[in-house]
Amino acid sequence: MAEIVIKNLRKNFGDFTAVKESSFTIEDGEFFMLLGPSGCGKTTTLRMIAGLELPTSGEIYLDGEEISQQPPSKRDIAFVFQMFALYPHMNVRRNISYPLVSQGMPKRDVKTKVAEVAGILGIEDILDRPVGGLSGGDRQRVALGRAIVRDPKAFMMDEPLGALDAEFRERMAEELRALHDRMNATTVYVTHDQLEAMQMGDKIVVMNNAVVEQFGTPQEIYDKPATMFVADFIGSPSMNFLHFYGAAHQGAAQISMNGASYAVPKLHQNAKGNLVFGVRPEHVKLSDQGALRAKVLASEYLGTTQIITLESESGTLKARVDSHQSVRVGEMIGLDFKPETITLFDADSGNALASELNKGVVAHG
């Protein structure tokens, strides 16, 4: 299996820059997510790794070898598309064995290999069925089988679950992850669904407008967002942003916002001007003593928890609280924040201010 290193990768389509100077490392055996909204450059990045697009500049190393200008067939990478294409006139066995047969592998070896892959995917009993009558899940498994059977160095997956029904997608996501844990193959997976990325990924690259915004483990990206874009894109509901005009002082562990003082992680830089106080919904506590007063606008029931929408003088925000806590629409309540979780941002650049919380993740400003 393989380590993939991306260095200053760039792709222009005419005047349009699809990917701008991206750099990150995918370690051997990682399940690696490329996450971002439509048009952010994630699929183009994946296609460059697979060799379906040639980069305008930059390098791609597969196990130390620079491959960015090699044709796809030389790269030993398998690609699983969103719309899995199977040969309709062949049965399951022939669909899976096709890549091996076309490589000229001896028949006996093909048979052993297909049996092994069928075992991994749990599809031994449908090997002789035509692909026409298969369920969506089985079709997906066969498509995966065809990718796995070649023993490639790495797998590229372009929203392979995108077209499926919610419930089935959850099941396949778990199955894919379990499959990965058994095979430990380096996998690069493109998605626009932050939950899917958090759930399945060892590492995540968040992209926006052709740029890598942040790169790290799911928990790190969630807890220590480097930019407002990342803070907003990851998490549902996303991070609350309270806008204020003020100053942050290096070494201070509090901030003054609209006349009240709030504890924050110790700041590692100074900043002045339009600032943003970022707090995740689950770190907003309803408390009578809370410094910030807010009016309850709505509540959304989610089973274990509920999402409360609140209107304060510093802006609208959402709190995630236990669903048994009773809250009346229209009532005024106080809000407290969990100080060690707060991220402050510079509203103009969108970048997080360096603090004790995000040291090592965010460069000093």
């Binding site: 919610a166 419930e167 992850r177 958090m198 759930q199 928990q219």
Partner: protein, 331 residues
């Protein structure tokens, strides 16, 4: 807006019973979500109400009037489809005006202008009214197609997975927006989806469909806390409910075959040892995938605790739901 009543409706396609004896009341001003996987009969139900399909038996009343033999136009319903279908050669404004220009309605020009302006305001697309439909992003196009339904004041809005083709992020925003629009207009909506989050957060009532039958109807809280069967219990809740043999934890009294255990209803530190297979960090919540005597169990990690994969923790059920062998709920 109007109350819609379905009485024992059935729809058969050759030998296949797509809808099997469904009765349901959609109260005036309610946001009813029909939830179920592909093939459960959700879309067929919508098409029967709109008149795009004919009933095999039963009857449908809209605002107290039986509409079985009425055409779709006579029924006065507005439908929003999964795939936005706008007229590409028209501007956003012309697209929104189109339903009001129907010859049956004879809407005066000033009313058309006012309605379009109002709806554009609600959907926050006022600044795009003079753009061509093809110049919009996917989210904007879907807002325009919802807007095209909203410019009219039909008896009921029928929506068939209107958000499912959108990006996850945009879907979240539009969900909140749609709920707000419904509440402010007092609109009656029947909304079809396979997405449980949409059902939980938007619905005043959820109808759970299974193979053409309505298996439970109630508020999201009733469906979540008091499901009538394993099938219903498995529809709501993320991560999904754990379904386990009743004797796994010595909780059996008499006749119970299976227990349903919500991931948040598992106590840690006592009971039986389970092996930690995988830890999922989702930010606001950490999920543990456990294995106990060959049964996969998902639970939620306690805050601030470390769970190395491969180690074991002791777990015990709290308030499990009990089911019979046929999947129906006992208590």
């Amino acid at each position: 807006m109007a109350e819609v009543v379905l009485r024992n409706i059935c729809k058969t396609f050759s030998a296949n019973k797509a809808i099997n004896d469904v009765s349901m009341t959609i109260p005036d001003g309610a946001f009813v979500v029909l939830l179920g996987p592909t093939g459960a009969g959700k879309t067929t139900t919508l098409r029967l109400i709109s008149g795009l399909e004919k009933l095999s038996s039963g009857s449908i009343e809209i605002g107290g009037r039986t509409v079985n033999n009425e055409t779709p136009a006579q029924r006065d319903v507005a439908m929003v489809f999964q795939q936005y279908s706008l007229y590409p050669h028209m501007s956003v404004r012309e697209n929104l005006e189109f339903p009001l220009r129907s010859p049956i309605l004879k809407t005066p020009e000033d009313v058309i202008a006012q309605q379009v302006a109002e709806v554009a305001e609600i959907l926050q697309i006022s600044h795009k009214l003079d753009n061509k439909a093809t110049e919009l992003s996917g989210g904007e196009m879907q807002r325009v197609s919802i807007g095209r339904a909203l410019v009219r004041e039909p008896s009921i809005y029928l929506m068939d997975e209107p958000l499912s083709s959108l990006d996850a992020k945009l879907r979240n925003d539009l969900r909140v927006e749609l709920k707000r629009i419904q509440a402010s207009l007092g609109a009656t909506i029947l909304y079809v989806t396979h997405d449980q989050i949409e059902a939980m957060t938007m619905a005043t009532h959820v109808g759970v469909l299974h193979e053409g039958k309505l298996v439970q109807f109630g508020t999201p809280r009733e469906i979540y806390e008091d499901p009538k069967s394993i099938y219903v219990a498995s529809r709501l809740g993320l991560p999904r409910i754990n379904i386990l043999p009743a004797n796994l934890f010595d909780t059996t009294r008499n006749g119970e075959h299976t227990i349903g255990l919500r991931p948040e209803n598992i106590l840690q530190g006592q009971g039986k040892p389970a092996q930690i297979q995988r830890v999922e960090h989702l930010g606001d919540q950490t999920r543990l995938h456990l294995m106990l005597e060959g049964h996969a169990i998902t639970t939620i990690a306690a805050a601030g605790q470390d769970y190395p994969a491969g180690t074991t923790i002791n777990i015990e059920p709290k308030n499990p739901l009990f089911f019979k062998a046929d999947g129906s709920r006992i208590y």
